[in-house]
C-alpha cells in the first residue's frame, strides 16, 4: 500500500526525501534536529576554476547522509531549516522494518523517496526538484 492507494492527502508527512544534489553539507538540519537523528559526514575537495584564470573553489562532498526514523518525530524542522531545498516531505509511509537498526535510512534510500514528493502547489511552473518545467 502506498500513500495514494491509502487515500492520504498528498501533503501528509510520511517520510523525508533527500535531493542529494542540493545538499551542501552545511550541517544546519543536523544541528536544528531536536531528536539528533540526522547524521552527516562530508569532506572538502578543491574544484578547478570554472573559467580560465579563475580561482579554485573548495566544495564539501557528502560522504554520508542518514536519518534515523526510529528517533525522528516528524516535526519537519530539518525541512524548514534547509536553505537549499535538499529535504522534502513525501506522503509515503510504508517502510516498517523488522529490526530497529534498519530504520536508519542512508542517502540511497532517502534519495529514492524523491520520486514520490508531490509538486509544490504554490509554484505550478516548477517541477518537484525546483527546476522550471
Amino acid at each position: 500500500m502506498n500513500a495514494e492507494s491509502a487515500g492520504l492527502p498528498h501533503r501528509s508527512r510520511g517520510v523525508i526525501a533527500l535531493v542529494e544534489d542540493n545538499c551542501t553539507s552545511c550541517m544546519l538540519c543536523a544541528r536544528e534536529c531536536p531528536d539528533w537523528c540526522i547524521y552527516i559526514d562530508s569532506h572538502p575537495e578543491t574544484e578547478p576554476p570554472a573559467a580560465p584564470g579563475g580561482r579554485p573553489r573548495t566544495v564539501h562532498v557528502l560522504d554520508r547522509f542518514a536519518i534515523d526514523y526510529a528517533l525522528c518525530m516528524y516535526c519537519g524542522i530539518c525541512i524548514e531549516a534547509c536553505p537549499f531545498d535538499a529535504l522534502h516531505w513525501s506522503p509515503e509511509f510504508s517502510y516498517a522494518e523488522p529490526g530497529i537498526a534498519e530504520l536508519i535510512q542512508e542517502r540511497d534510500r532517502l534519495g529514492a523517496w524523491v520520486a514520490t514528493v508531490p509538486p509544490a502547489e504554490a509554484d505550478g511552473n516548477l517541477d518537484r526538484r525546483g527546476a522550471a518545467r
Partner: protein, 189 residues
C-alpha cells in the same frame, strides 16, 4: 462569555486575559478549588466538562498548573491557571469535582512535583518505581543527551574521524543548546 463576566463568576482575586481567542483565568493557588467549582456550577459559566489538566515549568514564576474546561451547552472553553512554587507546591485536588482529573493530577505530580491534597491515589502514573525526579521540569537533564555524541558537532566538510581525540584540534566546537559542557555533568564530572 466576556472577560468581565468571568470575573464576576470567579471573584475579584482572579485576572482574565484573552490570548489566541481563548479566555485564560489566573487565580491565586488558594482560590484554585473555589474558582474551578464556580466555573463548573455557575449558571452563567456552565463549564461542566473537564478536558485536561497539566502544568509547565515557568522558571522564576514557579510551576504553572493549567486546567481546560469546556461548556457543552454553550460550546466554549476556558483555561484556568495558577502558579505554585517549585519546592513543595500544593493544590487541592479537583477529583471531587471531576473524577476524571485523577490521572491528570497523577501525571502532573510525577512530571512536575506538584502535590494535590486530597487526591485518592497519588502514585506515579507513567514513571517506573523509584524514579526520583520530575522529568518535565526545565532543570531536568536528559542523560541521553550527555551519553550520545551530538551529530551537529561536525563542521561542514568533517566526518566522525575529525571528532576523535587523535584528530587535529580546531577552533571551539559548536555545542548543542541546553546540554552541559563535557565533564560538568554525569559520572565523568
Amino acid at each position: 462569555m466576556s472577560a468581565a463576566d468571568v470575573l464576576t463568576v470567579v471573584g475579584a482575586t482572579a485576572s482574565v486575559t484573552e490570548e489566541f481567542g481563548c479566555l485564560t483565568v489566573d487565580v491565586p493557588a488558594a482560590d484554585w478549588l473555589a474558582a474551578a467549582s464556580a466555573l463548573r456550577d455557575d449558571q452563567r459559566a456552565t463549564y461542566t466538562y473537564f478536558d485536561w489538566l497539566s502544568a509547565y515549568d515557568d522558571l522564576d514564576a514557579g510551576v504553572a498548573v493549567v486546567v481546560r474546561l469546556w461548556s457543552p451547552s454553550k460550546r466554549r472553553g476556558v483555561l484556568l491557571r495558577t502558579r505554585v512554587p517549585h519546592d513543595d507546591g500544593v493544590l487541592p485536588t479537583l477529583t471531587g469535582l471531576w473524577p476524571g482529573a485523577n490521572w491528570h493530577e497523577r501525571e502532573t505530580l510525577e512530571m512536575f512535583g506538584v502535590r494535590f491534597e486530597g487526591h485518592p491515589n497519588p502514585i506515579p502514573l507513567l514513571l517506573p518505581d523509584g524514579f526520583d525526579a520530575h522529568p518535565l521540569r526545565k532543570d531536568f537533564m536528559l542523560a541521553s543527551r550527555v551519553a550520545k555524541p551530538w551529530p551537529g558537532a561536525k563542521e561542514p566538510g568533517e566526518s566522525d574521524r575529525d571528532l576523535e581525540p587523535s584528530a587535529a584540534p580546531r577552533r571551539r566546537r559548536a555545542r548543542p543548546p541546553g546540554v552541559p559542557d563535557p565533564g560538568s555533568w554525569g559520572p565523568a564530572s
